[in-house]
């Protein structure tokens, strides 16, 4: 037991998030069974698997978004830099400022582009004055590769942008709170190929600053953007390895079937 603790602290030196024995129940439905995953810092980790395999569920455990689902029950340990995020002392609000999230459907607030990005910094008191806030907004929009497209119309509603722009606005909004981890739940599923390419490029850029976890249905996308890939099937983590290895020499027959298109 003591040994395990030592082991864990060692892991946290290069692991941003360490998940051990995570189980999720939705009422009587056992959605996630005993998942162990290590999310490395400054790397993109992709979760792949057929629909309903629990990959989004697991992603939502990482910033406790499952708390909003009344029937969800999470057990096991998830450590963010060695601290248990399910510790009763943890305020999920504080956690979510550190672990940002981008959703499947672009969901900008029905406010101006500026206010969309400035909202997080405002509520977390990150800017002392207007100039600082302006700077955060600009850096975030630049970080999301959107600045050049919207710099002249920051006061226009964010909902008026195209789908791809909206999704990048949501990424800018998530980036603005300076998170340590960015969770992305199928961020490109509602986008056309061009917008998808832009967002993928962006994900690659973001890797230099935080660790990114992305859930995707597209195996090509996982192969393109991620360094680590986890394959989920029916609530189990089947295989977790370097992306190259998953796609070239999968260890588990189920992984092989999935990436070759036979299941899912």
């Amino acid at each position: 037991m003591n040994d395990m603790r030592v082991d864990q602290t060692m892991m946290t030196t290069d692991n941003k998030i360490t998940a051990r024995g995570v189980q999720v129940h939705y009422g009587t439905n056992h959605a996630l069974k005993d998942v162990d995953v290590d999310i490395r810092d400054k790397m993109v980790t992709a979760f792949i698997g057929p629909s309903g395999c629990g990959k989004s569920t697991f992603l939502r455990c990482l910033n406790r978004m499952n708390d909003t689902v009344a029937s969800a029950r999470v057990t096991g340990k998830i450590l963010l830099e060695g601290e248990d995020i399910y510790d009763p002392k943890v305020d999920p609000v504080q956690l979510r400022a550190k672990v940002g999230m981008v959703f499947q459907k672009p969901n900008p607030f029905p406010k101006s582009i500026y206010d969309n990005v400035a909202y997080g910094p405002r509520i977390h008191g990150m800017a002392g004055n207007k100039a600082e806030l302006d700077e955060i907004v600009e850096t975030s929009l630049r970080g999301a590769a959107l600045w050049n497209e919207v710099k002249d119309r920051l006061t226009e509603p964010g909902t008026g942008l195209s789908g791809g722009q909206q999704q990048r606005l949501c990424i800018a909004r998530a980036v603005a709170t300076s998170p340590e981890v960015l969770l992305m739940d199928e961020p490109c599923s509602a986008l056309d190929p061009i917008a998808t390419a832009q967002v993928e490029e962006l994900i690659d850029d973001l890797r230099s600053r935080f660790s990114v976890v992305i859930v995707t249905h597209s195996m090509q996308q996982a192969a393109r953007v991620s360094q680590k890939t986890a394959f989920f099937h029916l609530g189990n983590l089947v295989e977790f390895n370097d992306t190259d290895k998953i796609f070239t020499s999968p260890q588990d027959p189920r992984t092989e079937s999935y990436i070759s298109g036979r299941i899912g």
Partner: protein, 451 residues
């Protein structure tokens, strides 16, 4: 395997042209046309009924806004009104409306003689009866308010009695006058001569909107003043009570409350309360606010409390529906950047739900505005002919009536002159409702945002 598939596909029949309607399509089209006809018929019938209703109300009611009045010079004789000549208010008040009535009658007869109008055998008392019984009272108030008028000759415009007004509006005819102890055909003939001479005229009557209610004997002087003020007071109180309570309760139930059997019971009961007949709330108000808490009966405060109880469930249901209509993605977005539950609700959910909440509230208020039954039970049907004080002077505790109650009480009076006033009050009530609905639409348009 192949056999099974082959038998699953229906055998191809003879080729049918799509230019010819087959029997099944014809049948379907016929039933569709029939359904459209039913719908159109239903709408036509409801529009027709609505039109008939509005037409009747306006036909019967618009005359309430116009009133016949008599205009003639009156010399406010100092000897009659102020015997001692000292303008002492107490002594001036000693002259009753009977004294002023005599003065008015004498002045009218004198004016008729001066104009050379034949009285046509109408006795002096009957000439005096052409003047509204409210005329002397109004003149007395005028003099008491301004004693300097005494000794002067003023051009007075005073209301004609409701029978004369009815004669001009066609409600009273020579035939009905024969059967009516209040008016005679001779008086009506005199009235014709008065009209010709320009002494009796019909004009817009602002008093209908400003004057308080009047007794059965003088419908011409009855107005909606107290009822309008009472309704406005109640709307104000209902608004400031229901909006915070209703919105707070809805937000708590919708966003914060755990989903368990207890909140389920609350939910079911709110829906049930919305279906409780309004008169039950009146009984509750009578027992709770008047008998138990000892609040003054007939007061707008009690009326507003009862209407608040009645409106709350409706507003809570409307508010919850509009909160639920805010897409969950907005909540996720806010929570995702680390907003707390309360920040999520107040920064994002509530502004988006606002148009729905306001519409629901205003429609709830409109229902409350038109509500009669519970107000009858708490005494707002009483005859109130003094205005409630301004709100800051305790006006909410003063007795008042409300528009729908005034409609009810006028409609139940025997004098046919009150029928037109009742319809006129309905027009005013409808105008209020139209304004409120218009405000609801404008607010919805203004706040509506796409997401």
């Amino acid at each position: 395997m192949t056999d099974a598939i082959a038998t699953g596909i229906p055998a191809a029949g003879p080729r049918r042209s799509i230019l010819i309607e087959d029997a099944l399509t014809r049948k379907r089209n016929r039933s569709e046309r029939r359904f459209k006809m039913y719908g159109l018929g239903a709408i036509t019938i409801s529009l027709l009924v609505l039109f008939v209703m509005l037409f009747t109300i306006f036909r019967d009611g618009y005359t309430a806004f116009f009133q016949a009045s008599l205009t003639f010079p009156v010399t406010l004789d100092a000897e009659a009104l102020d015997e001692n000549g000292n303008r002492d208010p107490a002594e001036l008040a000693g002259v009753t409306t009977i004294g002023y009535g005599n003065l008015l009658r004498a002045a009218l007869i004198q004016h008729l003689n001066a104009e050379g109008i034949d009285l046509g055998g109408v006795s002096e008392a009957d000439v005096g009866a052409l003047i509204s019984r409210d005329g002397p009272a109004q003149l007395r108030d005028q003099v008491l308010a301004d004693p300097d008028l005494i000794g002067q000759t003023i051009e007075l415009q005073t209301l004609a009695t409701s029978r004369l007004d009815g004669y001009l509006k066609g409600r009273v005819t020579m035939e009905t006058a024969l059967l009516d102890s209040n008016i005679s055909p001779e008086q009506l003939q005199l009235a014709d001569r008065l009209s010709e001479a320009g002494i009796m005229t019909t004009a817009f009557n602002p008093g209908f909107l400003t004057l308080p209610d009047a007794s059965d004997q003088r419908p011409e002087a009855a107005g909606l003043g107290v009822a309008i003020i009472g309704s406005l007071y109640m709307m104000f109180l209902v608004l400031i009570m229901t909006l915070p309570i209703g919105v707070a309760a809805s937000i708590y139930l919708e966003e914060f409350a755990p989903k368990n059997w207890f909140t389920d019971i609350i939910e079911v009961n709110i829906s049930n309360l919305a279906a409780v007949p309004s008169i039950v709330f009146g009984i509750l108000g009578l027992a709770l606010f008047i008998n138990f808490a000892g609040m003054p009966a007939s007061s707008t405060l009690v009326g507003a409390l009862v209407l608040t109880l009645m409106t709350l469930p409706t507003i809570i249901i409307a508010t919850r529906a509009s909160l639920r209509a805010v897409p969950p993605s907005i909540r996720d977005a806010a929570l995702g950047v680390g907003a707390s539950k309360m920040q999520t609700v107040f920064h994002h959910v509530l502004p988006l739900a606002m148009p729905g909440i306001l519409t629901g509230t205003i429609l709830g208020l409109a229902t409350a505005l038109g509500e009669t039954a519970p107000l009858l039970l708490i005494g707002m049907v009483a005859f109130v002919n003094s205005y409630p004080a301004p709100p800051l002077d305790g006006g909410f505790l003063d007795p008042a009536t409300a528009l729908p109650v005034q409609v009810y009480s006028w409609a139940s009076r025997s004098d046919p002159a009150f029928l037109e006033r009742s319809s006129g009050a309905i027009i005013v009530l409808l105008a209020f409702l139209v304004v409120m609905n218009a405000v609801a639409i404008i607010l919805r348009r203004r706040f509506e945002r796409r997401w």
